[in-house]
């Protein structure tokens, strides 16, 4: 269980993380979603004590990470940036980190097997491909057999094989009952592994909900109604406390009502309907709606950039 309270990080005048509070509940995969530069990495670095919060606190299983007697037993972390000496072999890298906790060499060989690096464990980490480097990072995260894993963009830059491998590994680790906090800017990737989502944009939490609830909350479902007497119907719905948005031409969107409710009211009023459709928002649409205002660096057509970011891996 990870718990952040009013967590804030400022770099000079720029606020990277702005008073966020959230909990990552034990035993499930929580996705940490947001556009690049939203504060995901900074938040994760604060969890494992690499960055000092400007304000607020974050604890892991009840205590700040640094105050645990065996930090690697609590949280295993895979950070986005490289974190190994290129001249040192994978085996020696792991064995040195294991030594800090008195973790036996047998466990080092175990994690090397788990991530499938047995054949290259003696090779210099500098000679590794990006995918092999990520595997080494996962091996480090698993060294202390922690109940919680913090993974920053684990599929970023991986080839399709690597993405598939990572996805299966996350599912396996989740099935083992581990708490997994995994960040991504790829909505499609999140929907495959996470059951819970925390969405961050410009350093603030935009949503914190189960995947289904997230869609409902972020981009409300609505009923598309097409009618030559749309104006009259709108008036009646508004009069009964409903919310109506104008759509193109003679169409309107009714928010918060079921199609049955709209149809029955239309019959009551004698209004002719040409179309009555329930519209469910997709995860992508929900994400887009939430983060649309919170992207720091966008091109002239921000939506195209987002589409690429979200669809590129689908």
């Amino acid at each position: 269980m990870i718990e952040a309270q009013g967590l804030t990080k400022r770099y000079g005048a720029k606020t990277a993380v702005d008073g966020v509070s959230f909990q990552v509940a034990a035993g499930r995969v929580t996705g940490f979603l947001g556009p690049n530069g939203a504060g995901k990495s900074t938040t994760m670095r604060m969890i494992i004590g690499l960055d000092r919060p400007t304000a607020g606190t974050v604890t892991v299983n009840g205590r700040p990470y640094a105050e645990h007697a065996a930090p690697l037993r609590q949280v295993g972390a895979l950070l986005e940036a490289k974190a190994a000496h290129p001249g040192r072999s994978a085996y020696h890298h792991l064995s040195a980190l294991a030594a800090t906790h008195g973790i036996p060499k047998r466990r080092v060989r175990e994690v090397i097997d788990i991530v499938g690096l047995s054949d290259v464990a003696g090779k210099r980490a500098g000679a590794f491909s990006l995918g092999m480097g990520q595997r080494l990072g996962i091996a480090v995260a698993l060294l202390g057999d922690p109940s919680t894993l913090v993974l920053d963009e684990p599929v970023n830059g991986l080839d399709p094989d690597g993405v598939l491998w990572m996805r299966k590994l996350l599912q396996r680790l989740a099935a083992e009952g581990r708490t997994i906090f995994v960040s991504s800017h790829l909505m499609s990737e999140m929907s495959l592994v996470a059951t819970h989502l925390i969405v961050i944009g410009r350093g603030r939490i935009l949503a914190d909900a189960g995947i289904d609830a997230f869609i409902d909350q972020a981009a409300q479902n609505y009923v598309l109604v097409r009618s030559p007497q749309a104006a009259r119907l709108s008036e009646a719905i508004t009069g009964r406390g409903g919310t109506v948005r104008p759509d193109e031409g003679d169409a309107i969107n009714v928010v918060g009502w079921t199609p049955a409710q709209v149809g029955e009211l239309a019959a009551e009023l004698g209004v002719v309907l040409h179309e009555l459709t329930e519209k469910r928002a997709s995860l992508e649409a929900a994400f887009m709606k939430l983060t649309g205002d919170s992207i720091d660096y966008r091109g002239t057509d921000g939506s195209a950039e987002l589409r690429e970011a979200m669809g590129g891996r689908a």
């Binding site: 494992i48 690499l50 690697l72 974190a83 190994a84 040195a96 980190l97 008195g102 466990r107 175990e110």
Partner: protein
């Protein structure tokens, strides 16, 4: 929280302690190539320079030697030792810089500090490891160089025996002094986090400042320059004939001098620890 498929290895006794951090630092130190290159360069420079200077004295003696008046001021063993250490200290200082900055340049520091988030044990373990390595490498090398040099000087009757006054202190002191320079290198590594900046600063503080500061024509600056870390620390490997010359201005005996040098190092480590604890990794 219970895991369905936990590690097959028993990890219940896994926790961080200082000796484990020291062992981790040792494993890191001996698993990269630059360590072996630097140790080899240290040995070659230390023994090589000593032998060259001693050979020079022996040759000069065979040609008639320096004129009287100058001869008394020249102690061949003291000068061989001094030239050798003045050069070797740079190699050792670079080793001290790199033991820290290679973690920052490669990103390894993030793995290291994630494993030891209290951070200070990493700094103290690196310092202790560095002192041990420098002493274990340079102390036998200094004795080897002394005997090689002595073999050359003896042909001209210029040698000194180990049991003559101050010889043993100077030889052991030379090794301890270099361990201190290594620590200064690591301090600059912690503070600057870049090898280039730290090495340049180290050369400035250890070599250039003691030469440049006395050029300022102010009495107190001259006195202060006697207390620069390297100047005051080097007294520990000076033989008495050289010391007599130096003590004209300030009277600091070798042990006190080395004590002041050590105090500088400890102060530097404390500042580094404070900075390391506060800064983002």
């Amino acid at each position: 929280m219970t895991l369905i498929q936990a590690s097959a290895t028993d990890l219940s006794s896994a926790r961080v302690n200082w000796f484990r951090v020291l062992r981790a630092e040792w494993r890191k130190f001996r698993s990269i190539r630059s360590t072996y290159v630097l140790v080899a360069i240290t040995l070659v420079v230390l023994i090589g320079m000593w032998a060259i200077v001693s050979a020079g004295f022996a040759f000069d003696e065979s040609e008639g030697g320096p004129p009287p008046g100058i001869r008394e001021a020249l102690n061949p063993v003291a000068i061989s030792l001094r030239v050798s250490i003045m050069l070797t200290q740079l190699v050792v200082g670079v080793m001290g810089v790199l033991i820290v900055t290679n973690e920052y340049s490669t990103g390894m520091i993030r793995s290291t500090l994630a494993a030891v988030p209290r951070r200070i044990p990493v700094l103290t373990a690196k310092a202790v490891l560095l002192i041990l390595v420098v002493v274990v490498v340079t102390l036998p090398a200094i004795f080897a160089a002394f005997f090689i040099g002595d073999a050359m000087l003896s042909t001209a009757n210029l040698g000194l025996a180990l049991n003559e006054p101050d010889v043993l202190r100077a030889l052991v002191g030379g090794s301890l002094y270099m361990a201190g320079v290594g620590i200064f290198g690591s301090i600059l590594g912690w503070l600057l986090r870049s090898a280039a900046g730290a090495i340049a600063t180290l050369v400035g503080v250890i070599i250039l400042l003691p030469v440049l500061l006395p050029l300022i024509p102010l009495g107190w600056v001259d006195t202060a320059s006697e207390y620069l870390p390297s100047t005051v620390g080097q007294r520990i490997f000076m033989l008495s004939s050289v010391l007599d010359e130096l003590t004209n201005q300030v009277d600091v005996d070798p042990v006190t001098g080395f004590g002041i040098f050590t105090a500088y190092a400890i102060a530097g480590l404390v500042i580094s620890a404070w900075v390391l604890k506060r800064r983002d990794a």
